[in-house]
């Protein structure tokens, strides 16, 4: 009887290890019609707040919940010079992205619009430098970086020394670095 239990528990343990085989599905190629539709956000007339396109919900809101997209956003944040003004998120010449205060509201649609169209006071428009999907990836990363609640997914950690709390803890501003 004892042996049986041992065998059964070993089997169960081995089966539970199979859970580690689950990998995140990386969607590296977004169909062009979907990418085109992703641009149709409905923005409030004052440019603050709005609703994302329907297709974003149908796709399962991937830009906040997928580590792959968040990592792409993190790479774009470094590649497209965001650090020049926003630093690693603490701000500098431009507002901080992790202090919990959003000049144009905390929702993804506003952040998308800010990146795509720019904002008065120096934020340039990236409409002609990033594709629609890249803007969503970057917006998702920026939102997660300063989120009030811990996100379910996070980008990879930097190899460089950390200059601020990592992206996957929350709330952003109150978390001590050291």
């Amino acid at each position: 009887m004892d042996k049986r239990w041992a065998a059964l528990s070993t089997l169960l343990l081995a089966l539970s290890l199979l859970g580690g085989c689950r990998v995140e599905n990386r969607e590296t190629r977004l169909d062009p019609p979907l990418a085109e539709a992703l641009d149709h956000i409905a923005l409030m007339p004052n440019g603050i707040g709005g609703t994302p396109p329907e297709i974003y919900t149908i796709m399962g809101k991937p830009y906040r919940t997928s580590s792959f997209h968040l990592s792409q956003g993190k790479r774009l944040y470094e590649w497209f010079g965001c650090q020049a003004c926003h630093g690693d998120g603490q701000g500098g010449n431009a507002p901080s992205l992790i202090d919990g205060w959003w000049n144009y509201g905390p929702d993804l649609t506003s952040i998308y619009a800010s990146i795509r169209d720019g904002r008065p006071g120096g934020m340039p428009a990236f409409r002609n430098r990033l594709t629609n999907e890249q803007i969503w990836q970057l917006a998702g990363y920026v939102q997660v970086m300063g989120a009030y609640s811990p996100p379910s997914a996070a980008p990879g950690r930097s190899d460089r020394p950390q200059t601020r709390p990592a992206e996957n803890r929350a709330p952003a501003a109150s978390a001590p670095l050291r």
Binding site: R26, R29, L30, A35, W79, R129, T131, E133, Q134
Partner: protein, 327 residues
């Protein structure tokens, strides 16, 4: 019968590794030659040992056990002692041989040509430092003069890569934050294929490059041509292509010297059509391949960092004409 055919064809497939294209068994420079000698030495010594062990094993199975236990013990003590001594000798001898072979070969009189190569996911940035800070930046194709030592300074931008041109030298890792150096010489003019030799992500297998070894004169000609800015558009279509390239996101990542495109995160495309391959050894350089790659890079090399930029058919025609004219 069928099994024999399978065995023979497997052996023949293995033999194809001996041909010249990207093969360590066809050395074309002193560094690769010393590795080749080392490999031969290892094969001979270890093959000999294997043969001896098999002979002793066969003899042991064949013969009867010795009659008197005393002599048997003495004999087996000799055998074990001898085998241990031989193991120590062989291992230390081979270690010494491989140390001597992997030591940098003496450079000789010539001052080496310095080239900086940076590994990125999944392509190679190649920089020829200039005298007055005017570096020549290109990608995925490294031209070197024949007979002159080349000092490759290796670095990595994102993850660990490894620089390997089997015909010319051994592997050298490219590690973020730690610069390595590899020095080699090519004996003969030719085109040698290289490949990333450290798993670096989704498209590790499609991260190849070419070394083109040529005479000093043709190397100088090549370098002068590469240092020039991109040629002015030859026709109306090319001019339109250049305009599209500058206005669309292309220029945010790629540099084409002499135009508004000044991005540095993607490969320099100033003379892209002069290279033999596109996208780090994935496609042969033709206008069709350029168009296919521009239209849908994520199907050809999934996961690479070039996004699918939506272009109309006319824009795609124009851009591919412009890129194909950048010789």
């Amino acid at each position: 019968m069928r099994r024999r055919i399978l065995l023979v064809s497997a052996a023949l497939t293995a033999c194809s590794g001996c041909s010249g294209w990207q093969s360590a068994l066809d050395p074309q420079g002193p560094a690769a030659a010393s590795l080749d000698r080392l490999l031969l030495g290892f094969v001979l010594v270890l093959g000999g040992i294997w043969l001896c062990v098999m002979l002793v094993l066969a003899a042991g199975l064949w013969r009867r056990a010795a009659a008197t236990p005393g002599t048997a013990r003495r004999r087996s003590a000799w055998a074990v002692g001898g085998a241990c001594a031989a193991t120590v000798l062989v291992v230390s001898g081979l270690t010494l041989a491989s140390y001597l072979a992997s030591r940098a070969a003496p450079l000789g009189q010539d001052e080496p040509l310095v080239i900086r190569v940076r590994g990125l996911q999944w392509w190679w940035e190649v920089v020829y430092p200039g005298a007055d800070g005017q570096d020549l930046v290109t990608a995925n194709e490294i031209h070197i003069p024949v007979g002159r030592p080349v000092r490759i300074e290796l670095s990595a931008a994102d993850v660990i890569h490894s620089f390997w041109v089997p015909n010319l030298a051994g592997k050298q890792d490219m590690i973020p934050g730690r610069d390595n150096v590899l020095t080699f010489t090519a004996w003969e003019a030719g085109t040698y294929r290289g490949q990333c030799a450290e798993f670096c992500g989704m498209q590790h297998a499609r991260m190849a490059f070419l070394i083109v070894a040529e005479s000093q004169e043709s190397f100088d000609r090549w370098r002068a041509a590469q240092e020039a800015e991109a040629a002015a558009p030859a026709g109306e279509e090319e001019a339109r292509g250049r305009q599209v390239f500058e206005q669309k996101p292309c220029g945010a990542c790629h540099t084409i010297r002499g135009t508004e495109a000044r991005g540095t995160t993607g490969p320099d495309l100033t003379h892209i059509a002069s290279r033999q391959y596109l996208a780090a050894g994935v496609l042969p350089m033709t206008r069709g391949a350029l168009a296919a790659w521009t239209a849908d890079p994520q199907t050809i090399k999934p996961g690479n960092n070039m996004p699918l930029v939506p272009l109309t058919a006319a824009e795609l025609q124009a851009v591919s004409a412009w890129l194909a004219s950048l010789r």
